[in-house]
Symmetry: D2
């Protein structure tokens, strides 16, 4: 029915080999490094070794599409061809950073490629593409529904040669990470503009700017996702020069829209990777454990659970691939229905799949001895990322009702 | 990601137009014709009119694959290209017969094409392809688990120049239909053969053969699916000449295996059609009905339900298409994992989808004013057809455990 | 934790014995009688025999509460004490009529007891309590959401000494039944009354009144529930004398409110009976059927399914009993939260339970050889009866939000 | 339908007041104390203050049943009367310890009361009842299915005046806690005994005994449940005097059986508390948050979710209460069916309920700002505690099949 390009296929094989040789054997070492670090938010030396190796092998910046290939050393990969690569990376929660393909940096780099000035690119995009620094994207706010980007309340005011920022943000991934050097901050620069979509701007705030405070690291379901983390931030009279604006005053909403589609889909791709790996773990467990005189593999309900996981993974994967292909063809906007379908279906399915696979593992399945608990947490918060699923279903439902009653 | 052949696309458009012009406007007339007929199992004149029209338009025998195209007037359609056509037909439960694409006749015709002698083909296949007669496939038995074809107990014994059949069958689709003229009967001809797969044979039993008794019409969930029906049969010393055997003595299991894959998938294709139609009905309902001062379309939970239906239909459809493509490529045997995934996922999903859409319709959604209740019933019994889903999940689970622990 | 009164316990034992001796052995005979009757809507002679026997044994009108005991020969049963009796009756879909405890007659008799004049009682209540006639309650209309009783559009106008009725109704249970002699009809008598709850009246319309037309029998999921049925009605200038009003002009909504609570709960009680019976059937099946060399009872997934059914039945039953006890204590109005919880939980749970039990039975489980398919249909339409579950959840949710944020 | 004793009702009121005055206001302080402690496994001073206060108020050792009341200052509470108290405590995950009612200490104290010698009681039970020390119960082992107590492999051998223990254990709650002083250890003392239920013994191992090693703290779904924790232990030639045996050699299985019923039910009671609290939080959230121009409380799907939570909590609570009442009446053994039903239904329901309530809270619902994520984790691991749900469903299914086919 479909085929990945030869280049994608070759990269899949290479990536798989890399994971097997360098990543899986280091999973516990990486976790141990964080858990015993003095500072949970410090860069882990092992990560640097792996990054160097990946970069040397050309497994680097693979998320970049053909249309932006001038920024990188390769010809770009379509969303469709990138999907199986993201799936492979998704098998280990922290591995995308190895390949400079981690969220939210991929989205941020795209923003820099598409909307930044050459000076901004030189200062921030170049080291990001080189993996030397990391970045954060500050949109969500605690006091308003983040599902609607026009709601943001952080105030961006012009004062002479500077923008002055005041407000709060939370769930800002990477913000805790010591390697993160730049924040893209969405706020309201023109609250009285009659167009609700022209009230927002996005400005660049370097780490360490006075008034930018890391209030605390947030946890989701008990996980702090160190070393990158999700932070709550407070901006108090944070001042940056006027040239730190992206694209132009009043164009923040436009940037936000352009950024979201691929981000949601990348999460889905990676989640399928962790679901697939959980299934494989469950199969391995089922032949190694005996209860009541029979291997788990011979219990009818274990087989049914494994069959269900396989079927659901196939369906989730196909939905994501179709979404990617549509995005490649007509862009994120034209693929909004499928993006919403993926965003609201895949994380929930993956959560269910992993739950089953954990259950097959007994109590041990819940521990950090396996990747499943962390994967479950990842799937769970994706149901909230960019707004709760319900909001996306509302928009999708509305669109479908229109489609099927007007056509 | 994928594209149907130009021929398939053209046929889709033609078929859609046919449905809109000739089938949808006749839905209530057809139901009325059956409900007021003296004999619920008689052919409905309206069906003959529609068949003549479809045949004249070339919308005929579209299920035939390229490999068997010598038997028909067209070049054959791959499973993949046929899938969207079956989906369109599936929007009206009884419409596949219009296009000579109804179960179990399609599977039976394939059996005749592949395994019958020229004489047998002349006698039965020719009128079947012409839509002049219908056929039944008698495999399932009340007293044994039909999920394992080797279990059949109906006895086929040689007595001089004849085969003598004794036993019971049930859920024999088409058997009640007055137009059905031939039964393909699976039974045990060599119960002591050390190979469990060589004990069975399939023989042809013309309707009206003495000793073949229609015990009763069975209902599923209250439906008798007239005029074709599902019957219980009793064979008492039913005698047919030796040449009525298919393929040869002891080869019944082989025929059964070859027959099953496409059949299961055809059901899934059609079910997606009825699910899609239910979704469209729910959308239409949501803009025409007001409760508590608001259109249903404006209720958040209605939108969520519609979004879920869309997402699930997309996933089910993609799974079926991938299964078809795999079957086209490597045959049913090589696609066993995907066939099982489809068979155990799609009917259940469709049942859930239709349940939601009926609920949006209020009590009226349960009546025969809509196609949904009948579609629900169809989905429900497909979870039992060719054996309960659980049996297929057992086999699939076993296969997957092997795959992921031996590789 | 709780105990039924001695009288209830004695009646349970007596009723169980009655069912075993007289009802279960007649299940197929009863179905056969309807399916072979010239008129599906005629009374079945077997029913009369069973009714006579039940009445002779004192198993009669058990639904009547102590507060209305003056109308019957016994002291009345609380909802709580009646619940296990209704559960036992629920094991056979058509059996409540045997004990003069069938819907909607029980609700209608209560209406007559509470709101009718002595003349009305003499004419209609007396034969109803004697089981000589049946009744219908005409509230739901096709063109408006029946979940809100104030929506009714059927017009009741005064013209001299008569009320004149014009409008449509549907899903009117019992209306098809030849034994039904009286319709309680809800309509709008004062559409301009500023109070939305005073615009409605209920009037008595004897069967055969000119202008009252049985348009058709409706099916739900393929079932016509003969001989009682669910009908669509048309009222065209139907005239009845002024004294045929119940309680008084403008008091229709008040009557409707008083009627609904127990009705919903009686359905739930009966549904638990059919769920429990399905579970018992599944257990029986599991020891009688062997697949893949093992009894179904030894398959892990069958055991899990049976365990789930048991747990869910226990919970559903306890919820219904608590609801009954609360109703007995504070009345239906004070128990609205629990009634809504039961109404929206129990039918859906029972549908799921029966679905599982049917699946354990293979294809045969879907046929009329068992009570399960009919029970499934009953559960399914209860999710729509008195309005879709969603409407009740809306009201319940609103009530709870208020409770937990104001207290 | 049921009523708690006056004493239980009075205690409920008192406990509720205590929670409101002393516990809820300290939730964040308690979490902060652990997160900033040098040693996560140290006792938290705040806990001691609260314990002293609770003990002074008589809210102490309430889990003790009447049959064991000689050990405490009150007359004992039946399981039924204790259930609502445990529910209230369950609203804050760590609060049961305040009232000396935390797992596994309650179960361990019961073991000491029922099976220990006076010397053992003086040494361990007295300080446990006083809340001066804590205890652990070491049964589960990593390499065998813990769902069957006869599987334990830890070796207990007699060597002169001592028992010598060798083996591994994991998921040993409280083992990390610095206040825990005594381990009850189940192991195999007579592996060749022909009776599989007489091969086990339980011996007392004081903390600090040479050879008893805390290998590591385990996490479940990211939580370490500090300061009590769940540990992996290694026993290497651990020696204790012969008198440290409980009840007698070969009686370990007997003790284990007696211990399990109430433990499972106490978990369920507490889980209902956290589910109820999550529902209340969701209601509060729904009136404080506005999206798309409407309060969440006015969105139909939010109301439906809240209605579902309420209904499910009612059912879960009733099931637990019935189980308690049955245990009070006939003991844990006679209530095995209901205990299994509760154990396999309640945690899963609570997980679903909390998941919904978190979703209503947006991303913040996943953080430690609320009690929900921790409650979710608690519900999740209860599905594995004392063996996966599936094992209990297997036993329950078997029991039910027997019941309904032999009677």
């Amino acid at each position: 029915m479909y085929q990945f390009s030869e280049r994608s296929q070759a990269l899949q094989a290479q990536l798989q080999a890399f994971m097997e040789e360098h990543v899986y054997p280091n999973e516990h070492a990486y976790a141990e490094a964080i858990n015993t670090a003095e500072n949970r938010w410090a860069a882990v030396p092992l990560m640097d070794e792996l990054k160097a190796r990946a970069q040397a092998e050309g497994l680097w910046n693979l998320f970049v599409p053909p249309s932006l290939a001038q920024f990188v050393d390769h010809e770009g990969l379509s969303n469709f061809d990138y999907a199986p690569l993201a799936e492979i990376m998704g098998r280990v929660f922290w591995s995308p950073e190895i390949f400079n393909c981690s969220a939210p940096d991929t989205g941020n780099m795209e923003v820099f490629m598409k909307y930044a000035t050459e000076e901004q690119q030189a200062q921030w995009l170049t080291p990001l593409l080189a993996g030397e620094i990391r970045s954060a994207y500050a949109m969500t706010e605690p006091q308003v529904a983040s599902s609607d980007a026009t709601n943001v309340e952080l105030r961006i005011e012009r004062d002479g040669d500077e923008w002055v920022l005041n407000g709060r943000k939370w769930f800002i991934t990477n913000a805790m990470y010591e390697r993160t050097k730049i924040f893209i901050v969405m706020g309201k620069s023109d609250p009285d503009n009659p167009s609700r979509h022209k009230q927002q701007s996005q400005v660049l705030v370097p780490k360490g700017t006075p008034g930018l405070e890391l209030v605390r690291a947030l946890t989701t379901m008990g996980y702090d996702d160190a070393p990158t983390g999700h932070a709550e931030l407070r901006f108090t009279d944070v001042r940056v020069p006027l040239e730190n604006i992206l694209l132009g005053e009043g164009r923040g909403f436009e940037i936000a829209q352009g950024r979201l589609g691929p981000g949601r889909i990348h999460h889905c791709m990676r989640l399928i990777g962790i679901a697939q790996r959980s299934l494989e773990l469950a199969c391995a467990r089922s032949v190694s454990r005996t209860t009541f005189g029979r291997k788990l593999a011979e219990h009818q309900s274990v087989r049914e659970d494994i069959a269900k996981c396989f079927s659901e993974i196939e369906m989730a994967r196909l939905l994501v691939l179709k979404t990617c292909a549509r995005m490649d063809e007509v862009g994120a906007k034209g693929a909004m229905d499928l993006i919403a379908a993926s965003k609201t279906s895949v994380p929930l399915m993956v959560q269910t799949i992993i739950d089953r696979c954990m259950q097959i593992h007994g109590a041990g399945g819940l521990t950090s001895d396996y990747c499943m608990a962390e994967g479950f947490n990842y799937a769970r918060w994706c149901r909230q990322a960019d707004g709760p699923d319900q909001v996306h279903q509302m928009a999708l439902g509305k669109m479908l009702i229109k489609r099927y009653t007007e056509e």
